[in-house]
């Protein structure tokens, strides 16, 4: 399990926009991240953690997974970019004091694009879910994939 300062070896984000404080890999194909929502979190409005914060937490969770995989292959951790978010639904906003937990599962991977499913919960209560596409190579753009 990686905590706090060690997370910085997996992602490029730094304060005040780091939105994961726990990371580990329980079993293929799932990865687990957590975030304790502290007062003063930049995505909190008073004590309510916004949907944007939840999405960013999910995106960083996915990026941390990619960073972890790269490190495992002795590759340099590259920045990953969110290419697309699909079917994001938020049941309830987390609040300060909550510990937000997320499971990231890789659904498929082709060339430099990875499709993941992210599911977040607080204790046993589902909070949000979505599918996300991440691009590892910044130059992946809208060109049609057959060249």
């Amino acid at each position: 399990m990686l905590r706090e300062e060690q997370i910085k070896s997996l992602i490029r984000q730094r304060e005040p926009v780091i939105l994961i404080d726990t990371f580990f890999k329980p079993a293929d194909p799932e990865y687990y991240t957590g975030l304790k929502i502290l007062p003063g979190n930049i995505f909190c409005r008073e004590d309510i953690f916004s949907a944007e914060g939840v999405i960013e937490h999910m995106a960083q969770s996915s990026a941390a997974m990619l960073g972890y995989l790269a490190a495992g292959r002795n590759e340099q951790v590259k920045t990953s970019y969110i290419g697309e978010i699909r079917d994001f639904e938020l049941a309830d906003n987390p609040r300060t004091g909550d510990f937000l937990e997320t499971i990231i599962e890789i659904l498929s991977e082709v060339m430099d694009i990875i499709l993941v499913k992210a599911r977040s919960h607080i204790a046993s209560r589902p909070v949000a879910s979505c599918k996300m596409k991440l691009a590892i190579n910044r130059n992946v753009d809208r060109q049609l994939f057959y060249n």
């Binding site: 290419g83 697309e84 659904l107 498929s108 991977e109 082709v110 060339m111 694009i113 990875i114 499709l115 596409k133 691009a135 992946v140 753009d141 809208r142 060109q143 049609l144 994939f145 057959y146």
Partner: protein, 87 residues
Amino acid sequence: MTKQEIIERTNVALAEEFEKEPSLFNPQENLREALELDSLALVDLVALLESEFGYKIKGPEIIEVKTFGDLYEFLLKKQSDEGHLAS
């Protein structure tokens, strides 16, 4: 599955995922143009086929598939190589 069954299941799945009219699909037509796929959509195509048919599909394999006909042949070959997996 027979080839016809593969064709039908594939067309239905593609039509639904990419919101296109399946009666417009024909074997000679280029997949990416008909479905308006860009680089981000390739991974959706793979995820869809994997979940529909149960086969694991690799990037280099799917790159070879250009037309609808190529896709049907690809899935038929997967079936004969790997057996019937999905119900």
